[in-house]
Assembly symmetry: C4
Homo-oligomer: 197 residues x 4
Amino acid sequence: MPTSRLEAFADGIFAFAATLLILNLTVLPGAPLGDQLKSIWPSYIAYAVSFITIGIIWVNHHTVMHQVSHVDRLFLLLNVLFLMLIAFIPFPTRLLAQSINLPAQSNAEAAAVLYGITLTITAVLINALWRYAATGRRLLRADASARVVQGINRSYAPGPFIYLAATLVALVSPRASAALYALVALFYVIEASAFGR
Amino acid sequence: MPTSRLEAFADGIFAFAATLLILNLTVLPGAPLGDQLKSIWPSYIAYAVSFITIGIIWVNHHTVMHQVSHVDRLFLLLNVLFLMLIAFIPFPTRLLAQSINLPAQSNAEAAAVLYGITLTITAVLINALWRYAATGRRLLRADASARVVQGINRSYAPGPFIYLAATLVALVSPRASAALYALVALFYVIEASAFGR
Amino acid sequence: MPTSRLEAFADGIFAFAATLLILNLTVLPGAPLGDQLKSIWPSYIAYAVSFITIGIIWVNHHTVMHQVSHVDRLFLLLNVLFLMLIAFIPFPTRLLAQSINLPAQSNAEAAAVLYGITLTITAVLINALWRYAATGRRLLRADASARVVQGINRSYAPGPFIYLAATLVALVSPRASAALYALVALFYVIEASAFGR
Amino acid sequence: MPTSRLEAFADGIFAFAATLLILNLTVLPGAPLGDQLKSIWPSYIAYAVSFITIGIIWVNHHTVMHQVSHVDRLFLLLNVLFLMLIAFIPFPTRLLAQSINLPAQSNAEAAAVLYGITLTITAVLINALWRYAATGRRLLRADASARVVQGINRSYAPGPFIYLAATLVALVSPRASAALYALVALFYVIEASAFGR
């Protein structure tokens, strides 16, 4: 089985999950619009952080698929589970944006934990995808270079631990946790700007 | 007519139907978020079961298209009807998730029956698609092996009966029926894990 | 400019407009679900008619693009306007399904007229697309056969008049108009079944 | 890294952002439908203007990608930021359509400013994308003609200033600003009709 149709399905879900994030932005009909548009600033940040995070994961998924020459059923299944997490991201994004500024700290905590669990499992699954394809060069292209394979191994490995740490921080301070999610996205933006050429 | 544009249209509908499932997850603004996120656990399971089910059907559709070299208008029409059922899945998924834990058993029954009818017709249509393409090798690639064709015949045939049986179970116990829908998805996950290499 | 990216954009909008139709199906949380699922039968029919109609237009658009070798800016613009109408279809579909069974006949009339205007303009635009490409063989493939070109001319020409007639019928009887929209879709289904091989 | 998967992701987001615009059209269940369908005319215009604007930007993005032979990480990142703005467009579109006819001028002003800021940043980002690719022919195809490159430079440069001006007009008259957004779209439609062959 060729990889092109898996890429089309995956790109559709990445693009759609990112676009659906806009439905999280809402205002009330009655209240003054200018004030509301200022007061929902956490929603803008949440939109940007989740959109960029999905964009980064999309680049990573592309990096995996670029090394893969063919797929088997278990790899397809891992992809379906991985994409199930991608499509889930808009839900905790909305909850986190809506609760982070409320007085009830427990709501923000629940939202930040769900957001963190979602990204932790996503990071685990992209590692699982990659390790399954790369172990013994099971699904790799014949000309995949050992240096590139090692590089991907190294760059994906910290993801689950970073997001797990940010999830645990949410139990102490949801705002610090939200700041960490934003910092991870920002780190990739800066890194790509500085070294991305 | 080549098959590539049908695949693009189909992949789009598979991807959007799967991603739209996330809109089924909702919480009320007032109530404590942590409690609500726990109490909507049937929605998580429904999301996962329907997402994986759509993923499995997508793999099956790919398997059909991989054997097909060209399409005619009746095959296109069967595909439109089939995709109409795929795009329908988010609706009974939401109903089933919202009603399965309510005291009113009749609501859960109606939702489980609608979910089952949807998947039964979907399974009938993918069999119809395949049989139409394969009968007399009408639309098959010249090099499609008889062994593969027989294998697809055998593996798709039970689908309608399994889902019809689960639909009938809903008339007795909606929860048992919902468990069956989940078990079918889980069976494919385990089978792919065990034999999918 | 090659035609492949226009097809990708168009297929995305066709697939997404068709999938969004499912958001038109809604039930109220309180009332018995079984009764509601029966009482919203016009929504099922509206879903099926609009989904099949979009599917038919998608096949027609593919037929046009299959004869076209390259595109220019005016053809791109006509495509954007045409796709704008395709993406509009879910809105009058919802209105028609929700109003057709209400006592207030005037609501159903407004909905049926809007549905008809939408499909009439859509049919005008696919004719415009095709005529622009085909006149003087402006954008056609060098090997496009004159017989196929004539055949497309003939088969697309009646569309605007059929939908305009059904729109005018809505001013007398919205239900007769809705039945006509369904009959047009059904006609294509039967025609494809009988002659589509 | 090849450009094809970036195009697939971008085309998906363009197509979904355009199609999501239809969710902005809503009517109230109680009131007479015919009257409502007339009174929401700003929503139709907003739908058309934003759909055509997204269509124009899609054509421009295609024009950029057509000159580009390969991409690097910074170019990918600029694309993610650019697509983040594209997917944002449905939100200010809805706000502008809903507020432009209300007595409270301040609501329309806030909506028109947000709409203008969104399109201004979008126009800045497509210039940034193009300049990054074209400077020193960093990512261009070997056969990209200097004349075409100069032409794109010239035709994209005014965009940010035009939208910034229309944004500033919103501070004086939101309706004049909305008319300017419509005129820009109309200008491209007329230009493509007159010179697009």
